[in-house]
Structure formats: C-alpha cells, structure tokens
Assembly symmetry: C2
Homo-oligomer: 337 residues x 2
Amino acid sequence: MAVTIRDVAKELNLSITTVSRALDGYDDVAQATRIRVRRTARRMGYIPSRAARNLRRQRADIIGYVIPARGTRFTDPFFSEFIAGLGDQAVSQNFDLLVSTATPDTAAEKQVYTRWMQSRLADGVILSRVRLDDWRAKQLAKNHFPFVMHGRTRGEPACPFIEIDSRAGFARLVKHLVERGHTRIGYIGAPKKFTLQRDRFAGYVDGLRAANIPFDEALVGVGDLTRAGGYHAAQTLLALPNPPTAILGANDLTADGVLRAARERGIVVGRELAVAGYDGTEVSEHTQPPLTTLKQPVYDTARNLVKMLIALIQGETLAEPQIVLQPELIIRESTGG
Amino acid sequence: MAVTIRDVAKELNLSITTVSRALDGYDDVAQATRIRVRRTARRMGYIPSRAARNLRRQRADIIGYVIPARGTRFTDPFFSEFIAGLGDQAVSQNFDLLVSTATPDTAAEKQVYTRWMQSRLADGVILSRVRLDDWRAKQLAKNHFPFVMHGRTRGEPACPFIEIDSRAGFARLVKHLVERGHTRIGYIGAPKKFTLQRDRFAGYVDGLRAANIPFDEALVGVGDLTRAGGYHAAQTLLALPNPPTAILGANDLTADGVLRAARERGIVVGRELAVAGYDGTEVSEHTQPPLTTLKQPVYDTARNLVKMLIALIQGETLAEPQIVLQPELIIRESTGG
DNA sequence: TTGTAGGCGTTATCAA
DNA sequence: TTGATAACGCCTACAA
C-alpha cells in the first residue's frame, strides 16, 4: 500500500488537516510546520492519491482527445504533432491527456465521448476534424461539458475554437498558381460534411473568381484526406482529355497521392504539373519533389486549445473564445520552386 | 450534478446496496428487481462515477504510454499505429489510455512515469524503445508496478515483453542483398543504448559472417532513427572513396533519409544503390522508390501488449510472459524489386 | 433477497 | 495556527 496523508500526519504527530494544508501551501500554516511537513512528506515518498482527490474535488485534471482514425492507424502526421502539443501543454498545467481513436460518426466514437463525459473521467475534451453539423458539439454543449474545437461548426455558434483561415489560404494558393501561368487548376477535396472542405473549396473558388477563371466542375475531385484518396481522384483528373496543369489537395496527404498518380503517368511534377497541399506537415518536406503547402501552426494551436480548455474547466470566461489564424504559404518545387 | 447511485435508489425506494448489486449483475438479487433497477438506471442516465469507483476499488482502469518524442512532434508513423493498437485493445477491455510525450532519458520522462505510478493515476504502463539498461524497468519492477515492454532490456530478465526478432531479420536482409550480388553493405544504426541497436547491428554482422564478407567498420554509420539522422550518416558513407553498394537503415525513417542523400548525389536507388529499412510502416510504401523492409506487426503487438498488461494488473500470471516474433521480409524496388 | 454501515484518501468547513 | 469531522460516490462484509 502506498503512503497516505494519514501516515505522514502520524509520523509528525500532526492532524491530517494540517498536513494537507501545509502541502497545498496555505498561508495559515506556520512556516516551520510547513517546512517540516514538506520534508517529511518527501522523505516518505508521499504522493496524494488521484482517486481520492478526484472524488473530493469533483475534478479529474484530465482532458480527452479522440483521434479520428480509420482502421488500424491514423496516417496523418498532423495528429502526431497535434497530440504532442496537447500533451505538453496539459502536463505543464498539471493535467493529463486521455487518448482514444475512433472512426468519425460511428457508434464507437459516440461511446467514447459519452463515457468520458458521463463518468467524469475527463473534465473536458478537444475536438478536431470538426463537421459542419457536429453532433459532438451539440451533445457536449447540451450537457455543459467543457470543450474546444480546432475549426468551427455550423450548429453551435457560441463555442470556443481556434480556426485556421484555410479559405483565405486556398485563395492565395490559387493566386500563386495563376501567377505561374496556370489557368486549368484542379482541386481534390474531402467529404462534404467536414467544415474544412467547405472552407477550402470556397477558397479555391474565390481564387478562381479573383483571377477571372471560369469554374469547371470537371476539375474537382473528391478525396478523403488520405494518400489513397488523392491518388484515385488524381487518376481521374489526369485522364481527362484536357487535364489540369495544376492540382490542389485539401491536405498534404492528398497532394502526396497526386504526386504518385503523376509519377505513374510519367508526368514531371514541378514542370508539367503543379501540385500543392495544405497543413505543412513534415510529409510536405519529404515528398519528391517537396510540396508547396499552406502551413498551419499545429503544435502551437494544440497548446493554445488546451490552455483555453483548462480555463473553461476552471470556470473562467475566455477573453478571446474564437480565434482565427492565417496559414503561411510555403513555396517549394512542386509548383515550380 | 450528475445522477448518482443514491438518486436511483431513492427513485426506486431501494437501498443503494441493492441497486449496486443489481447493476453489477450479482445473482442474489431478484430477477424482477434487477430488471427494474436496470431500466430505471438507464432511464435516469446513471453512469457510475469513475472517481468514486476508483477510490473504492483502488484501481483506475487506466493504462499509460509515453511516446518517445523529440521536440514538438513524434515523426515515426510506427507510433501512430502503436497507439491505435493500444487504444483499441484498452477500450475493448474497458480500460482507457493515458498518453504523454517525453524525450527519452530526461527529467521530464522520469517525472511522467513517477507521477502516474505514485499517484496511481494509471494501473500499469507500456514501454517501447526499450534501452539496454532501462531505468524505467528497474524503477517499475522495484515498485511492483505492472508494466510490459515492446522489446527486452538487459537488466530485468523476468519482465514480460513482446520482442520482434530483428537480429534474425537483419541477417535475412543481408542474405537478400548478398544474393543480389552485393558485398559492400553498409549499416546505419541508432544510439547504442537502445536494445534495438544491439540486435539489429548484431543481425547485420551475423549476415555478413554467414556470407563470409569481412566486417568493415567504415561502412557503419550512426543515426538516430529519424530521416535527418539517416540522411547525414548516408552522406558520409556515400562520400567514401569506395562507397557501399547497399545500405541498411535501422528503421524505415533512417532508410528514407538514405534515399534522399542518394538522390542528391544523383544515385539511382534500386540500380546503383540498394536501400532497405525496418518496421514496414507506411513510410516504406510511399518512398520513391518503395522501400524493401522488415515488417513487424505493430498494431497486433500493441493489442497483445495491452492484453498482457491488463492480465498483470488483474493479478493473473501470464502463460507466456515473453514472446518473440519474426518480422516479415518485404522486398520492393529499393533493392532491385 | 434486501438493507445497514464502514471505509477507500482527500479536501474543506468549522470550531478550538 | 491547528484539529476534529463531515462529505465526495461507490463497493462489500455482515446483519436482518
């Protein structure tokens, strides 16, 4: 059995009250006592029991994050960086991070959130890959359960989020390609239900309009934010009688799939075809050729989301509950260097 | 406030004892009562408080995993798959997964494990990237804290683990290259402290010996299991007056770094230089050219580790506490196809 | 078959 | 400045 606060109190001939208060740094404990208590506690290796503390304080000091995975892995390095940020910030505020994986909009996903929320295993959760109509936001808001989102949803306008303005980003990306002389620019997106698809597609259309390029539905493909999705959609676009000379992917993985499709057809990317992605993950650095992309500050955003969430958990009101950041355009060889 | 077992009991005019036992399926509760209780509990949305249950049972039903990260991300997709496996198995056994990131052998790493262990936030942990002399294994064993390892350590011979026999794997990889006519075969490893380095390097040497190829220290480089590490080490090897015609990386990322170094020197991998990795992560599928590699069953291993760990937590004795599996050689274009 | 009561280890209220 | 005591919500011997 681990050493409890009782043991420490007994050892010192003090009450557990005094020990507790001394350790928590209350100022109504004599300086000398505090020091004595602290030293003894450390010597005895006393660490408060989380279970007891949680029960008493009705708080777990735990936040949860469900990774949108499909099957046996989550392929997007975006999540690696995101998780690192969540974990680091949580730890720095004496919280811990609970993680699970679930395929979006499945019973399994619902179960995870429900369990965490109802049993109060977690004090709050972070949502990513937000959907336009996101049952998670509705459900959590209804139960007054603290949460923050990476990206916004349509249904719950008052919820805190950090959004990267990918609409403006994609418009800028199109502008970049137009400046390189492209007029037939394709786009491979994601399923419609995701907010990111609405925004990035809108940005693509904005960009075309700004350059007076007519929108051509044939140049729009649907992916699923994976390499495979990008690959298949690109095969179709590249097989067109009059194929695009540039293709934008909704994220870096999609764009990497485009690269592969191009390679298989013997198309030299950077010269014969321009390709660009979104996210600025390390994938974009290591493709052949390296990808032009819109970089979003994944790690810092994750940290800030946790900061916001913990503030909410502690009952504070956020000074800035809804934050919009601009992605950074990084030009690499895949669009001509 | 959430609905407690008290509320359910009051609603039914029963004691909390009966409600508790009915919900837990004890057989000394009248059939009719059980049904009544269950229905009411569900209707009222009762979910037991984790904090209370944990305190009472002295168990959290949580396992922990620390991702070996450096800086703001963990780059190896190995971990994505590993975490997915851990999470899935944990959930299927009604456990949850706590995750943190820490750079190996730092104060931060020590702190995470200590906190989880001492405060009993977690009931057990999973170790990966095991070191030859691993303070974690020592510490955990000393405190009788349940843990399982992916790979073995030198110090604690009785600890449960699942190991992939990468030594035999690398010997097979060398044999494969020898059969393709290679005699100058290089190896780019990892820091010595990792068990995997001892094994993979030994396998490399085994393979050379089996083929009667003299060991040449000049062909051995040191990486750090990242692309950058592989890249830098490969630059040195490829700049030798008599460079290797084949290079093995200690993992897929290292090998991908080699590919980049080769590309920069205008060397065609698959024809002029053979390259192979280890892990069989998706990285190996998407490099240019695709990588020959030794595939280990990451997802299934993670699941099995969790099974073992939970058995340990429940006080069971493992039928097979130390498991050794063989990796599968996957031949792709990077060694000639 | 059901109920009473004690305790898991804290924190917090109140009194001394 | 310190101490006695009451919860927090659940589980489980033991009694009825």
